[in-house]
């Protein structure tokens, strides 16, 4: 049969067969040579998160309570030279997870956070924040157990490392191990501050507190809740301690009940807080009163971000302001401390007061008929008939001086 083919075609067929044979023999040789996969060092610029990445000085790869509740995913772009079909695993732990004893047995302190095949490079390896927070060691399940929302509500501050490796069928490491140490789990807020007093000001309240002396700290958040009040003449308002919120008692006709606060009246809104009302650990929104007649801000619980009405970032600050409030309206005020990851303490004691109009110097000056004010550019025209217009004196003196100097020279 082959003899029937032209000689050129025969040569081509032989060449092709030879090439295929060589390729197959090469693959077999490479597989038999036992080349281990080599995982490249983690490039931090290739790490992404579903939640917004924090600034470099705010532990960007750590897991906060808000990250955990949001079920955040930290994705690492992994580069591997000669990947194979062994299982690719990521272990987390405070100790060296490349040691078998840290991954297996009763003494193990590491826990599995990712396990899958990785036969192509580069590849994305997603690590779930809840799995990092859960600390489900192999005792709980050798293949790793996924973390849940309840794992986010534990008080935990843990510096951990992530260990990237291939594990073969016999449970042994079959590649190099790459450690990433820039992560951890911090589910704790700073110590709770204590409000000493809340004083009225014009459309705002002055909140004073005792500092928390926290070691890790980013600021304070002030929360406001409209509460019912009865007006009294002269000194402002008398608060109804422990009273049930009554819509008719609110001067601006705000709705009451589950959410007596008019969120639109609060300027900061929910932009600052990492927590949502639905995630409160306590029974906020229920029938518990905060002592000012409100039910949203409860001491010892996590407040809703919708009630945020002021912030203060100075570490040493002991005063802050609940801003853009309504004069004459009573408010319950509570504060929390926040750490660098955005973890909040529970709410402080709740105090109440009402903003009041303040008569400043300038207000009284204008009310008395004073004409000053209106901006630096609002220049007054001099009155030409004024007997006090002596401005020409300065110009005259300057002119005389120049003349005398010329004569002298």
């Amino acid at each position: 049969m082959t003899s029937l083919l032209p000689s050129s075609l025969r040569h081509l067929s032989l060449g092709l067969l030879l090439t295929v044979a060589l390729c197959l023999s090469g693959e077999t040789a490479r597989a038999q040579s036992g080349l281990k996969p080599t995982i490249q060092r983690i490039d931090t610029t290739q790490i992404t998160r579903e939640q917004p990445l924090r600034e470099a000085n705010k532990l960007p790869y750590w897991v906060s309570r808000a990250d955990c509740l949001a079920d955040d995913v930290i994705t690492f772009r992994i580069q591997v030279t000669t990947p194979n079909t062994d299982n690719f695993e990521v272990w987390a732990g405070p100790n060296d997870c490349s040691q078998t004893v840290q991954r297996q047995g009763d003494q193990a302190s590491c826990w599995l956070v990712y396990s899958s095949g990785l036969t192509r490079s580069p590849a994305d390896v997603p690590i779930h924040a809840r799995d990092l927070a859960a600390q489900n060691t192999p005792v709980d399940g050798a293949t790793g157990v996924a973390g849940t929302e309840s794992d986010c509500n534990t008080q935990k501050h843990l510096t951990i490392g992530l260990y990237f490796m291939y594990i073969n069928d016999s449970g042994q490491i079959s590649s190099n191990v790459i450690q990433f140490s820039g992560t951890g789990v911090d589910l704790e807020g700073p110590p709770t501050p204590e409000i000493t007093d809340v004083l009225p000001s014009d459309t705002r309240l002055i909140v004073n507190w005792n500092t928390t002396n926290a070691t890790e700290f980013a600021g304070y958040r002030i929360y406001c809740e409209k509460v019912a009040s009865t007006a009294t003449s002269g000194s402002g308002l008398t608060l109804l301690d422990g009273a049930v919120v009554d819509a008719a008692a609110l001067p601006d006709g705000s709705s009451t009940g589950a959410n007596p606060l008019d969120a639109a009246a609060l300027p900061i809104g929910d932009g600052g807080s990492s927590l949502d009302a639905s995630n409160q650990t306590g029974d906020a929104g229920g029938s518990t009163s905060n002592g000012c007649g409100g039910t949203q801000l409860i001491e010892g619980q996590l407040p809703s971000s919708k009630l945020l009405c002021g912030e203060e970032s100075a570490y040493t600050a002991t005063t802050g302001y609940a801003k853009k409030l309504k004069n004459g309206q009573a408010y319950a005020i509570g504060i929390t401390a926040v750490d660098n990851l955005g973890n909040e303490s529970v709410l402080s004691n709740v105090e109440c007061n009402s903003p009041r109009e303040v008569y400043t110097f300038f207000e009284d000056y204008r009310q008395a008929g004073g004409g000053g004010g209106g901006g630096f550019c609002a220049l007054a025209r001099p009155n030409p008939r004024s007997p006090h217009d002596w401005s020409w004196l300065g110009l005259l003196a300057l002119g005389a001086c120049l003349k005398l100097r010329r004569i002298n020279n």
């Binding site: 000001s201 009041r356 400043t360 000053g372 217009d389």
Partner: protein, 260 residues
């Protein structure tokens, strides 16, 4: 023998050196030990004066109301505040042994903390508010300055006298709750024009330590230094215009002046 030869050689050299340095008083200079040489030759050119000023200040804001109201006194009381200032004089015309004449520019700054109230002015028992507003004033002036230092130059009495006259200008702004105060949509900041004049007496400090004065001149170019006491009138009422806050004052100030 050797000792005698050395003595014969060195003695004339040492004597010549001593005579040379003794004959050098006119070559004034300054080294790490201070100024040396003739006082007259050591004196550097003099063209300007600098005054560092501090004095009490309480603007006459209530003058605008002619006694019908006193919002300033209600909020700031009658206690003087401190005003710190700086003045630069250009001694355009120097009349040796008599004095100098020239223009000057001065600027000062004071900050007054107000006592504010929860109740209107009509309430006889106004309750003080927890938070205060502030009034900041930046008075400036451009004046002609005449300095007469003939007495200090020709007699042992180390006193010089001066007078200033010209125009004054001031910036003021009031702040409340971390921002500019506003009343009925009118911003609490403005400018005020007016007149400024002053009379003062200076005590020439050089008279107390001539050597230190020479050192200062040789090393820093400071010809004379004075302690001064001045009374001045700053009438910043907008030359009688009704829409100007009177932020001027008639008061004493003191300080140190250097002629350079």
């Amino acid at each position: 023998m050797k000792k005698t030869a050395l003595k014969q050689t060195c003695t004339p050299l040492l004597a010549a050196s001593a005579a040379f340095f003794y004959a050098l008083p006119g070559l004034a200079g300054v080294d790490q030990f201070g100024a040396y040489g003739d006082d007259k030759l050591a004196e550097s050119p003099q063209n300007m004066a600098v005054e560092l000023r501090v004095g009490q200040y309480l603007p006459d804001v209530d003058e605008e109301f002619g006694g019908s109201a006193q919002p300033f006194k209600d909020h700031f009381g009658g206690k003087n505040r401190w005003l710190f200032g700086l003045e630069l004089d250009w001694q355009l015309l120097r009349l040796p042994g008599i004095g100098s004449l020239g223009p000057a520019f001065g600027i000062g700054y004071t900050n007054l903390k107000s006592k504010d109230y929860y109740d209107p002015v009509t309430d006889p028992d106004r309750e003080a508010a927890a938070e205060s507003s502030t009034l900041k004033i930046l008075p400036m002036y451009g004046v002609a300055v005449v300095r007469i230092d003939a007495l200090a130059a020709h007699t042992p009495v180390p006193l010089a006298f001066y007078g200033k006259a010209g125009i004054g200008y001031g910036l003021w702004w009031a702040r409340y709750a971390e921002s500019l105060d506003v009343a009925n949509d009118v911003k609490a900041n403005d400018t005020s024009w007016g007149t400024n004049w002053a009379l003062g007496v200076s005590l020439l400090l050089d008279a107390f330590d001539h050597r230190a004065a020479n050192n200062m001149d040789a090393s820093n170019g400071i010809n004379n230094s004075y302690f001064f006491l001045e009374w001045y009138n700053s009438d910043l009422s907008g030359f009688g215009h009704s829409s100007t806050m009177q932020i001027g004052d008639s008061t004493w100030t003191t300080g140190i002046a250097f002629e350079l």
